[in-house]
């Protein structure tokens, strides 16, 4: 038997084995299905079926108070959504503008803090790691209410601090209006968001710790600068986590709701700048009780988020590096 024939025979034998599982492999497979089976049941019952139901709802005139009196209205909700409701486009614009500001700032901040917290030169590293992660454990609504106090123009700490540090008279009703001034509202909301980026920091930190130190050492010996090591080693090596954070942050921003809802009941104040898309969905569905139209709003969000996420995945092959990946 020549060498090629031997390899072909070996591969054929491998393929034959994959068709017929051993008893141990069967047992393992059964356990595997048992474990994911529970999740699948949950996925079907709490995600897939409600999603399918909401798609059906989007073709109904469905009043939440009287679901039994629903009527089929065809594409009426979709027509209203796409051609008649200016708030849809306003809320989408608000959401994307905020995402364009908040996403890069949040991503860079989380990475920057992770690099700092990973530094061997940082004194009290564990303490700082705990402190930066701690806000994540504060209930979101409580955190937002605390922020509304901190940002109060007359009595909030931030304006008091600025006044104390600069001497500028900003701690009064006419001072810096963090939550009332349309020009700075997205920066304010981003600031509130950054307070809770503990999870993103944690992911980045874990990724940074997974980069083999030999790579840095070899680069150092070759004379690579700190910036070069960052660009050529660290960023590529942690790019899967950056990608993961990017996708999660983007999807999270598409569903941005709690901060504007808690702070102003979701009425868009100031000047409509906080009328996010999910606020529009929530008001239509659960405040105005128009669940049919609300379902159409939700589905449009799903389609947009899916398209953008798919685009992000398509770009991933150009900049995300998976060690050991077979192409």
């Amino acid at each position: 038997m020549d060498y090629v024939t031997e390899i072909q025979s070996s591969l054929a034998s491998e393929r034959g084995r994959s068709k017929r599982l051993s008893r141990a492999e069967l047992r393992e497979a059964r356990w595997g299905y048992a474990f994911i089976g529970l999740w699948l049941v949950g996925f079907l019952a709490f995600y897939l079926l409600p999603m399918a139901a909401s798609l059906v709802f989007s073709f109904l005139d469905l009043d939440l108070l009287n679901p039994s009196r629903s009527t089929f209205v065809g594409l009426e909700n979709w027509r209203r959504l796409l051609f008649e409701d200016p708030l849809v486009w306003q809320s989408l614009r608000v959401t994307f503008v905020f995402a364009a500001i908040s996403l890069p700032i949040g991503m860079v901040s989380a990475l920057f803090l992770a690099v700092l917290l990973n530094s061997a030169d940082l004194i009290g590293r564990n303490l700082f790691r705990t402190l930066f992660y701690a806000p994540t454990m504060v209930p979101v609504v409580a955190g937002i209410l605390i922020w509304s106090g901190v940002l109060n123009p007359a009595t909030g700490w931030i304006n008091q601090l600025i006044q104390w540090a600069t001497g500028l008279q900003v701690a009064n009703p006419n001072g810096i209006r963090w939550l009332d001034d349309a020009r700075i509202i997205y920066l304010t909301y981003t600031m509130i968001g950054i307070w809770g980026i503990g999870n993103a920091i944690l992911y980045n930190l874990a990724a940074l710790q997974g980069v083999p130190s030999e790579l840095y050492e070899a680069a150092k010996i070759d004379g690579a600068s700190w910036f070069r090591r960052l660009r050529s080693i660290m960023l590529p090596m942690i790019s899967p986590v950056i990608f993961y954070n990017l996708v999660l942050s983007f999807v999270g921003l598409m569903q941005y709701f709690q901060v504007p809802y808690v702070l102003n009941g979701g009425n868009g104040y100031p000047e409509g700048t906080t009328f996010f898309y999910l606020i529009h969905f929530y008001r239509q569905s659960f405040q105005f009780l128009d669940m049919g139209y609300g379902s159409a709003i939700a589905w449009l969000l799903f389609v947009i988020a899916l398209a953008i996420t798919a685009t992000l995945f398509a770009t991933a092959k150009h900049w995300v590096y998976y060690a050991g990946e077979r192409r």
Partner: protein
């Protein structure tokens, strides 16, 4: 054998429990969602459950600001409670069609309505919906003032009965109206340097005490200070009543020019807190009777009550809250729910509940010296002018400030947003913005026709 006996007992108890009809009582749309009231309500539920074996009453209390959304979601999910209450006019208006017509249940039980004012019974008869509730409690409003702050400022107290003038510390006799209220409120507004709002040296950027506000209400509630009204006329068109337009300007001036009414930034600060009068930094507030039993027990200062001042046209309005209990249309056990409802409204239980919620019972037989008893229990050793509170019932707002409108929730959203801008914008074109609000409301009302 012991284990067998225990199992049998357990099974028997479980069987008895499952044989009971469960009735869920939802609290949150009106009074009752403040923590000090929880225990007393639960005690009433426990007493009911102990009194019979057919029905098991379950109390569900939710936070007032979230109650609308939670109830809507429960109804939508087919998980509606059986009884909702106490619920005010706004709460009822927000759920058109969600409440059951009680007429057949009243007739079937031959329920005696003779102890209620017939006009009040009719108050709960809604067009197209029937008799959705029975009278339970009313909550008149009046001025509550901080005597300690008045004494510190050397100001004379407001009059102690309707029709009396205001006699200043100098002995000047003035009509008790909005002009007098404004002057007095400015005198009681103080900055960090001790200057009051009538002085040239007063610093509006450092206010620490305010003179007056209509608290814990929305724009319609605040504007009722100038007379009753609504944003919709009899033909279903959007309107801004003239006296409300004047009132909106007066309120904006009070916040940003005269400084005696906490503006947006101050109202959201820890100087005022969620319960403004209780902060001890507010000299006068228009409050409803429920406030005295829910939200001012932390106030150490001396306080009193006074009549509402006359508006610019000389009329007096003391806006009124009226609460009831309703049965949801979706209730699977309306008969059992009606049994519970009549228990809650009974002459034995109603006064206990009204004491918890701080309301005057709607039952005529219970009104007598009810207020004296309530205040003796809630505020022993306080000399409260009960007559002012009772007399405030003579000046109710009609139409009520919580009256429904077409597309009620959306309409509320529009004027709440207007109010937020009014409170937070120093340079606010009140007249122009009101016209814009009217136009927006008109569009909404047209689309809801």
């Amino acid at each position: 054998m012991r284990k067998l006996t225990a199992a049998l007992v357990l099974l028997t108890v479980l069987a008895m429990a499952s044989a009971q009809t469960e009735i869920r009582w939802f609290v949150g749309l009106g009074a009752g969602s403040d923590e000090p009231q929880f225990e007393a309500q639960q005690a009433i539920v426990d007493a009911y459950n102990a009194s019979q074996n057919d029905i098991r009453l379950v109390l569900e209390i939710v936070e007032n600001t979230q109650a609308n959304d939670i109830l809507a979601t429960q109804i939508a999910a087919g998980n509606a409670p059986d009884i909702v209450g106490p619920v005010g006019i706004r709460g009822r208006s927000n759920f058109p069609g969600a409440w059951r017509d009680l007429s057949d249940l009243i007739a079937a039980a031959d329920y005696d309505l003779s102890d209620f004012d017939p006009a009040l019974v009719d108050f709960y008869k809604m067009e197209g919906q029937g008799q959705i509730g029975l009278p339970f409690a009313v909550f008149p409003s009046f001025i509550t003032y901080n005597k300690t702050l008045f004494d510190e400022a050397g100001a004379a107290y407001p009059p102690s009965s309707y029709g009396d003038p205001y006699v200043s510390a100098d002995g000047e006799v003035l009509p008790w109206n909005l002009d007098t209220l404004r002057d007095l409120a400015m005198f009681l507004t103080v900055d960090a340097n001790g200057n009051d709002a009538t002085m040239d040296a007063f610093d509006p950027n450092a206010v620490i005490q305010w003179g007056f506000m209509v608290q814990m209400t929305d724009l319609r509630g605040a504007l009722t200070l100038f007379g009753p009204g609504n944003f919709v006329d009899a033909d279903g068109n959007a309107v801004i009543p003239e006296h409300w337009a004047t009132g909106a300007q007066w309120i904006h001036d009070a916040m940003w020019k005269d400084y005696f009414w906490p503006n947006g930034p101050y109202a959201a600060s820890d100087l005022i807190t969620w319960s403004p009068f209780q902060s001890g930094n507010l000299a006068m507030a228009q409050t409803h009777l429920w406030y005295q039993t829910c939200c001012m027990f932390d106030l150490q200062d001396e306080w009193g009550v006074a009549p509402m001042p006359a508006a610019f046209d000389g009329s007096i309005t003391a806006k009124l809250h009226a609460d009831t209990f309703v049965i949801t249309e979706a209730s699977r056990n309306p008969e059992a729910a009606f049994d519970v409802l009549t228990y809650l409204l009974s002459p034995e239980i109603a006064p206990q509940l009204t004491t918890i919620y701080g309301g005057m019972p709607a039952r005529l037989s219970l009104q007598g010296d009810y207020l004296e008893g309530m205040f003796a229990q809630a505020w022993p050793n306080r000399d409260v002018d009960i007559a002012v509170i009772a007399d405030s019932l003579l000046y109710p707002d009609s139409p009520n400030h919580e009256e429904g409108m077409p597309a009620n929730r959306q309409a509320q959203d529009l004027y709440i947003a207007f109010d937020q801008r009014l409170q937070n914008t120093p340079a606010f074109d009140v007249a122009g913005e009101l016209e814009a609000l009217r136009a927006e409301l008109q569009l909404l009302f047209d689309s809801a026709r």
